[in-house]
Symmetry: C2
Subunit: 238 residues, 2 copies
């Protein structure tokens, strides 16, 4: 034991392998497009099990650094695909992360048929029953986000009896209804008169808008459009 080399003091972790491989890619030892040694060979070189190498390479593959194919082997990606992850969560958390006081208000609540433009978008019949909700979210009593939402009451009948005066529909839905698929879209839109009023700004001011549709096994659950206060920035590190 005492004459063991320092390198073998710890068993080599998949993180070690990952770091070593990444270092060589960065150093252009394996330039973009190059073929890496096989898992077997790398395992031999690093003195670890193939499963360890496998996990390291799988991690790099998930990160978009390398591309793996059976038989052809592992190659360095020509253009690294870095994936930015956004945690789309609850507004309340967004606000509270800034150490601001969060406040929620239900603006309106009305059950009725699905509007035509939304029916087309969700691939629903035009008279499909929906619940239309409008809410405001405040940070330190300043407007933070205006939320306009339609909920498919056939998919989520329980929302008709839910008390949405205290807890927002976003949080209620997250806790009550799972979803299998979601689509989000971000854009810049000019404030119209109602938006300007709710967000206490002027008509025409650019607003960061986020739309989301969620489905539960093919059936649309809800559509929401979130319009943020002027100057809002959505950011992330990766």
């Amino acid at each position: 034991m005492s004459d063991m080399r320092a390198a073998k003091a710890t068993r080599t972790s998949f993180l070690d392998v990952r770091a070593a491989v990444l270092a060589r890619i960065r150093a252009r030892v394996w330039p973009p497009g190059a073929l890496l040694p096989t898992e077997h060979d790398l395992a031999a070189e690093f003195g670890c099990a193939r499963a360890t190498v496998n996990r390291a390479l799988r991690a790099l593959s998930d990160e978009g650094v390398i591309d793996r194919k059976r038989k052809s082997g592992t190659r360095v990606r020509m253009v690294p695909v870095r994936k930015a992850k956004f945690e789309i969560s609850v507004v309340r958390h967004l606000v509270e992360e800034t150490n601001a006081t969060y406040r929620y208000a239900l603006v309106s609540r009305r059950a009725g048929p699905c509007p035509a433009w939304l029916a087309a978008r969700l691939d629903l019949p035009g008279d499909h029953p929906m619940l239309h909700l409008r809410c405001m979210h405040y940070a330190d009593n300043r407007p933070f986000q205006f939320e306009e939402r339609w909920v498919n009451t056939e998919a989520v009948p329980a929302i008709l009896t839910a008390d949405l005066s205290v807890i927002g529909p976003n949080e209620w839905l997250l806790g009550a209804v799972p979803f299998t698929d979601a689509e989000i879209a971000m854009s810049a839109e000019a404030a119209d008169a109602p938006l300007a009023e709710f967000l206490e700004t002027a008509v025409g001011v650019p607003l960061f808008q986020l739309e989301r549709i969620t489905w539960l096994q093919g059936a649309p659950v809800t559509f929401v459009r979130m319009s943020h206060h002027p100057g809002y920035r959505m950011s992330t590190r990766y």
Copy 2:
């Protein structure tokens, strides 16, 4: 529960375990906050190795469905954290995905000291040498994106001799310089006079703007601000 002999026809995959666990969470067998059985117990129940259960649960943990802690065990997340992934890649790919013809133009290129606001933002001295680039990206000859970029020429001296008239700085940098960290921010901004001219729109029109800073082991590499044509939507499914 349903089939015993058929179930053993194939070895149980971690995907089977993942699906089964997810189904129970969705069915509220394990409601939000509930403690799941240990990996050992689940392995026994599913008739597989603990490593298989581990991989399944690790996947669910990565997806934000469950929360794992040593000793305390595995719990269902109160609020599922769904992570939307954006592949921040090259503009050219974005354009070509829409079956449009991509065109790139270098608008201006000037080496000089870092502007004060950027120096502050990047934590660089005010006179740090930078290369300032402005480019246009077109889709079917209609303005798609205006790119304004500063490159740290001390970190990337090679860019001073690179030919950026044909290939954009984005693609050039991706192929030439690795980065270890990045920060991106999205916002809605009103078009100013130059932007309106380049994007062929009116002053004040809301534009979807994306900023990114990249670092290589702590040293800032580049800052870029991409302003998109009016009506641009950035979307993803997850």
